[in-house]
Amino acid sequence: MKHGRWIQAAACLVAVAALAMIGGCGGGGGSSGPSGPASWTYMVYMAGDNNLSEAAITDLLEMETVGSDANVNIIVQVEFSSQYTPGVPTDTLRGRITTNSNLTRISNVDMGAKQTLTDFIGWAAANYPADNYALVLWDHGAGWKVTRRSGGAIRGALQDETSGSFMSLPDIADAVRVAGIHFDVINFDACLMAMHEVAYEFNGLADYLVASEDSEPGEGDPYDRILGHLKATPGMSGQQLASTIVQDYVAYYRDNYPASGARPIAVTKSAIDLSQIAMLHANLTDLAQTMISKIGTERANIQAARDAAISYDFPTNRDLGDFLNRLAINTNDATLDAKVAAARAALGIVVTANATYASNSAALTNSQGLAIFLPSLSQVTNDELAQYALLASSSGTNDWADFINVLLTGDSGSPLEKTAGNFVFWLEWNTVADLDLMVLEPDGTWAAPFLGSSSPNGFLSADSAISGVSAEYYAAAEQVAKGDYDIVVNYWDANGSTGSTTARLYFYDAEDPNFTDFVEVGNRAMDLSYPAPNNATWADMANDVYSDWWIPGTLTRTQPEQQVQTFILKGHTVRITVLPDKTKREHLPYLDRQADTVARQRMGRALQ
């Protein structure tokens, strides 16, 4: 039972002062292990400094019910979140799990850094040598997907919220590679990691990879069952342990979430023979080349197979086996059919164990153990495709990544055409006058606090007329439409103040490592002494002809996310350029007084 009531009951009886005792432990490397090599050292790297902190606690409890013995070492390195589990020490803990464990504090390390993982593996192997090694990577997981924050790095799993890190898939593989330990089993106790792209990244680093195609429930692996079986049969092989994890995982959820239960649950887990992953990859490359060459006649069949294949929390993750089966049914091309058959056979060899359970449907019966990136045009961005091309599995010629690009050219609809956002414009002024910050987004949509709290590309502060604060901001979403973001400021109402006010615009770009804080990019004195007439042009306004309008500049967001973006600002040395003329700028809503008035009435503001 994951959440025994005894825990809560006991907790109510245990003095909180016990927390202080945790801090008393220090020094070396945790409890001592057996004198000679064990059969297995089961390493668990738990990046729990995030919203999964409570799940880390329950999983540790499960491990402790089993505990290490002379044959099986259960070695953990774990970090918790003081936000989600208040009162816990923020230091990283490591040590050997027994039924009465004593973990050691090793300061607060960055669990999302690859060197930390390398260090843990090295320490565990040196202090608890064994004939066989398993490594559990415990945390959030996101397959191969891209993070928009760290300069285009590729995300994998293992988040440390305090350190602001999320280890990329290549970094995880590098960490294992550098540690120099060949694992019998690497088990992702994380979401969405059973992907061909993930498995290929670990080619040569382990014998078996265990992971889930779908998201994992918060409880994750049932450590008491898995480790109980390992202790009972310490002579099991890597393949047997991988299969045991798969079967125990699904059995746990089948036992605890019956079909008649109120809470629906759906789980997948599979074991991948990494010694065969290159063989599968070669077959997929052959298939990709054939699909590329046959795209003129087979596009519709391929698209239909893709769109019907089961997907997961990332809709672009399609089950490879389901896709192949459907393509085999759809196509009448003998060459393509042969390649599909070969890929299906290879998949059958690579997936050595696969189990699924859905408590209220048969939704996962087509999950065959390995997903692959297979997007439709409307699901993917060019940046995402560029990042995908950087994976080890995309390093060939006419490979799966190339096939995706060819397939997408025939999809209906339009691509997301988004790029990294994460920038903020902050306007503030020094009187009680009513100023409005407005942003003209690439598709011609106006975003402004007085128009609402969100736009297609970002969200906005409260209207200063409502908040009473002489400041407004526009914060871009993590991904935004490519194009120009024109920044416009309007002095709307003196609001009882006299004289001019100085408006200052600040900018922050989280995608640009040069920004550590907001930077002032311009200022202007504004008032109502020379307001713009209804027939004012954008050019006049951009040239500061009128005292109530200020157009500080344009942010052009068109480059791939890892490149520094450009902020264009007239009259300043930081990213200056001349504003290009654009038709859309001739239609400023503020020059349409009726629309403007309607918008302001909706905000409950007084009419001018």
């Binding site: 959440h3 825990i7 809560q8 006991a10 907790a11 109510c12 245990v14 909180v16 016990a18 927390l19 005792m21 945790i22 008393g24 919203n51 999964l52 409570e54 799940a55 606690i57 329950t58 540790l60 402790e64 989600y84 589990t85 208040p86 009162g87 816990v88 040590g95 009465n100 464990s101 973990l103 959030h140 997981g141 996101a142 997907k145 993070t147 988040q159 919220e161 602001g164 999320f166 998201s215 994992e216 918060g218 994750g220 109120a262 809470r263 629906p264 929390d313 990332f314 997301l416 956002g421 903020v424 709290s453 969100s454 970002g458 969200f459 914060a475 979403a477 993590e478 991904q479 989280a510």
Partner: protein, 129 residues
């Protein structure tokens, strides 16, 4: 003693407290009287009568970093915050945003349609597809 079990037990105290984790609900509310689009606070307040029902809920996207507490329904579940309450959402995030490590998406106004479900501890969450 400075054992892991003591450590975990004390942490469990801080996580779950000694009180029930059952959310405050209003079981006598009339489901037909609820608005078509629910605020997060309302969805949680009326979780008892909305259990298993399809709902549209509006709140602010908070990715993996927000006020929701306890174990999430899935490790990919993300948070939707209301004025006072927070609810986990299991399923894909809205198009164009990412659950973590999110930056400016945090706080973005979001509405979504899904099924309200309660976990084994009675905490409501949303399932979306």
């Amino acid at each position: 003693m400075n054992t892991l079990r003591t450590f975990i037990v004390v942490m469990s105290l801080t996580v779950t407290g000694c009180n029930s984790v059952e959310p405050r609900t209003k079981p006598d509310a009339d489901i037909a009287a609820l608005p078509a689009v629910l605020a997060v606070d309302d969805a949680i307040a009326h979780a008892a009568i909305l259990d298993g029902k399809e709902v549209t809920v509006q709140g602010r996207f908070m990715g993996w970093k927000g006020r929701c507490s306890g174990m999430p329904p899935t490790r990919s579940a993300w948070m939707l915050e209301g004025e006072h309450e927070c609810i986990y959402v299991a399923g894909p995030v809205p198009e164009g945003i990412s659950p973590a490590p999110s930056t400016n998406d945090l706080g973005r106004a979001t509405s979504l349609h899904g099924t309200l479900v309660r976990d084994n501890a009675g905490r409501p969450y949303l399932m979306v597809h």
